[in-house]
Structure formats: C-alpha cells, structure tokens
C-alpha cells in the first residue's frame, strides 16, 4: 500500500518528461506502438495536453482509422520514436 504511494511520485515525473519530449517536437512525425488496438500510430504531433498526445494519424493498422485526429495516452505507449531532423533517421512510409 505504502509502496504504491512511493512509486507514484517518480512515475508522474517520467510521464511529464516524456510529454516534454513530445512537446519539444510538436509538428514533427512520430511513431508509436501500443499493446492495444490499433497497435501502431504514425503521424504528426499536433499538441500535448497533460498525458495525452493529440496526433494527426496518417498510418495505423486499419485503413478506416487513418487520416484523422487521434488522442493517445502516454501511459500506454510501449515504444515510440520522434523525428528530430538534424541528421536523425526519418520514419519510412510503411
């Protein structure tokens, strides 16, 4: 019980730090994997609100869910990559 309280503090800092990373690259493309449907998002970061990323998604698992605005929770992300320019690799078209 008390362990839960203790572990909550750094956890919020981590989410904040990741949100900060996304905020820094608003307007760039990003690649996100989540364990739940639809598993993958590729698109342009439009905004970051708290622990939610607002994203213009151009590619997911399902064609019908593409080309729309998605709201993605940082908490459930397992893998991500944000394009940075400056010689860093770009996300290919899948």
């Amino acid at each position: 019980m008390s362990n839960y309280e203790l572990s909550k503090i750094p956890y919020d800092w981590r989410i904040e730090a990741i949100a900060e990373e996304f905020t820094r690259y608003i307007g760039n493309r990003a690649f996100i994997l989540v364990p739940q449907f639809p598993f993958m998002y590729i698109g342009v970061i439009l905004d970051v609100v708290g622990s939610e990323i607002i994203m213009d998604v151009e590619r997911t698992q399902i064609e019908q869910l593409e080309n729309r605005i998605w709201q993605i929770n940082i908490d459930t992300m397992q893998v991500f990559y944000i394009e940075r320019g400056d010689g860093w690799p770009t996300i290919p078209e899948f």
Binding site: L6, R14, E21, T90
Partner: protein
C-alpha cells in the same frame, strides 16, 4: 570540452555518437573507455543539478534533470550503460506492427537516457520469423515500461518462446 558539454539540451543527459563506438569494436576496450568517459560526465551532472533544485520550480525543463531524490537514482543504472549493446524486455505481452505480432524483446545500443525514456540505436526486433529484423529508425522506450534489461551481444541467437 567543458563548453561543448554545457551546450547539450537539458533533457538529454548524454548522447554518444556512433563513430566513437565504432572506433573501439572490441567489447573489453569499449567498457574501459566508457567508464573513463562517463565518470566525469556523471560528476558534472550532479554538480549542475544541485543549484537547479535549489532554484524555484519556474524553470520547468531543468527540473527533469534532478537526480537528487533517491527514487530517481535508477536512471543512473541506464546512464552508465550508454554506448553498450543491451537486450530489453517490455511490459506488454505482445506488440504488433502491421499485422506482425511479436513479443516485445529488443536489442540495441543505448544512445540517450532521459528521466522518462531511453533511446536505442540499431534496434533489432526479435520477430519470431525474422529474429534479426533491424528497425529503420532508432526507438525510444518509456522507462516505466522496461521490465528487464541486460547487456547482450546482438549477434547471439536466442529462442523466443
């Protein structure tokens, strides 16, 4: 040298360029090099965070660099692995890229560690039918989702159950 380190953006604690790693291909030598290089860097970071935490919380970006709270010290474990090849396992039972289902087991070289995430370069996703599939971009992993990490030779074959 001190000036160049101070130019690093606040959230990025250290990034080791690919070329540095390639000039020392033998693993034993790289370990020694890393230890020598990392010691002054960590020392410098600790020095820098001391005044930062004494400041008010107005400077939002700087606050993420704080390693004073004992609860955040585990990122040092990741930081001292910068430049090394590791295998990491994530919390999710499975992930999915365009219909390819795989267990979240990745190998790669750590290039950057922040409070929230670690960035791996030359990432190999251990797909069941393509165990050496290299992903075209680097990948970041939220530290909270990393359940296990170990040093690992990326050419080793492992069974994926």
């Amino acid at each position: 040298m001190d000036n160049s380190k101070k130019k690093i953006r606040p959230i990025i604690i250290e990034r080791k360029s690919k070329r540095v790693h390639e000039t020392y291909p033998e693993t034993t030598e790289t370990e020694d090099e890393n230890v020598d290089e990392l010691d002054p860097i960590t020392a410098e970071n600790v020095e820098e965070t001391d005044p930062v935490t004494k400041q008010s919380k107005d400077n939002k970006e700087s606050s993420y660099r704080s390693t004073l709270g004992s609860s955040l010290n585990e990122i040092d474990l990741f930081r001292e692995r910068i430049g090394e090849d590791v295998l990491i396992v994530l919390e999710a039972s499975q992930l999915n890229i365009l219909g390819q289902v795989f267990r979240p087991i990745f190998t790669g070289r750590i290039v950057e560690v922040t409070v929230g995430s670690i960035l791996l370069e030359d990432v190999i996703i251990k797909m069941p039918n393509a165990p050496f599939f290299q992903f075209p971009t680097p990948l970041s992993f939220p530290i909270q989702k990393v359940v296990g990490m170990t040093r690992f030779d990326p050419t080793t074959r492992i069974p994926i159950l």
